[in-house]
Amino acid sequence: MIPLEYFIAVGLIIFLLGLYTCLTRTNAIGILMGIELVLNAAGLNFVAFSHYNGNKIEGHVMTLFIIVLAAAEAVVALALLLAIYRRFKGIETEVVATLKE
């Protein structure tokens, strides 16, 4: 049997890598990918915890909600990115920085 810690550790590593991606990418889609990684890490943790707590189904339900949510967010993100691209001709974050610091 696989211990619970292993799953949590994998989840945490995915989370940290996702966070790193979010922080360092300049491309907005890159940041979106980082967010997807973090969401996956959270989903993995939910399922792992619920499996090792006597198969509490709540965790699975939450993971389903997360997946639906990620879909909705991706739709909005795509619309947003295309709108931005039309206006700025690029989606790098330094192109999209006209407001002063």
């Binding site: 049997m1 696989i2 211990p3 619970l4 810690e5 292993y6 799953f7 949590i8 994998v10 945490l12 995915i14 940290l16 890598l17 790193y20 991606t21 922080l23 360092t24 990418r25 300049t26 491309n27 889609i29 890159g30 979106l32 980082g34 997807e36 990684l37 996956n40 989903g43 993995l44 399922v47 792992a48 499996h51 090792y52 707590n53 006597g54 198969n55 189904i57 709540e58 699975h60 339900v61 389903l64 909600f65 997946i67 639906v68 949510l69 990620a70 879909a71 909705a72 991706a74 739709v75 909005v76 993100a77 795509l78 619309a79 947003l80 295309l82 709108a83 691209y85 690029g90 330094e94």
Partner: protein
Amino acid sequence: MDISLAIFFVISAVTLVACGIVAFSKNMIYSAFALLGVFAGVLGLYILLSADFVAIVQLVIYIGGILVLILFAVMLTTRIDMASGERRLVNKAMEPLAAFFGIAILGALIWKSFFSTHWTVSRVFYGPTTAAIGEKLLNEYLLPFEIISLLLILGLVGAMVLGRREVK
């Protein structure tokens, strides 16, 4: 060694390598394709955790839907040869270093609390979950279930608002 443990190590290795490519690759296209590896790896882990329904949904929606959307987004907004994944934090150069240290410190903290925790495992159960999930969704979690459907409508409205062109 247990066979399931071996499978677990293989799957998580694939997942983490793919994660690394997403995080560190110089090319956005590679990152986007590596995302496939991450999603598939997490799917494998779900199966190991006997979460059959969640795994199928992951396959259909994440790999079938979101990944395609992201690939579209990459290809629509950047020419393939220009799609460099050059990295810099939102404002200045030199900040990947700062981000890296921040993440490292955070990771160390999490790691510490991770090892000082005694993980209690009450009961492990392998079996189909679909029926139970359906019951939960229509009983206890009816309200969030309805709201999440609203969220999808909202996603449509939001995409429409953001995507429409200037009226004038």
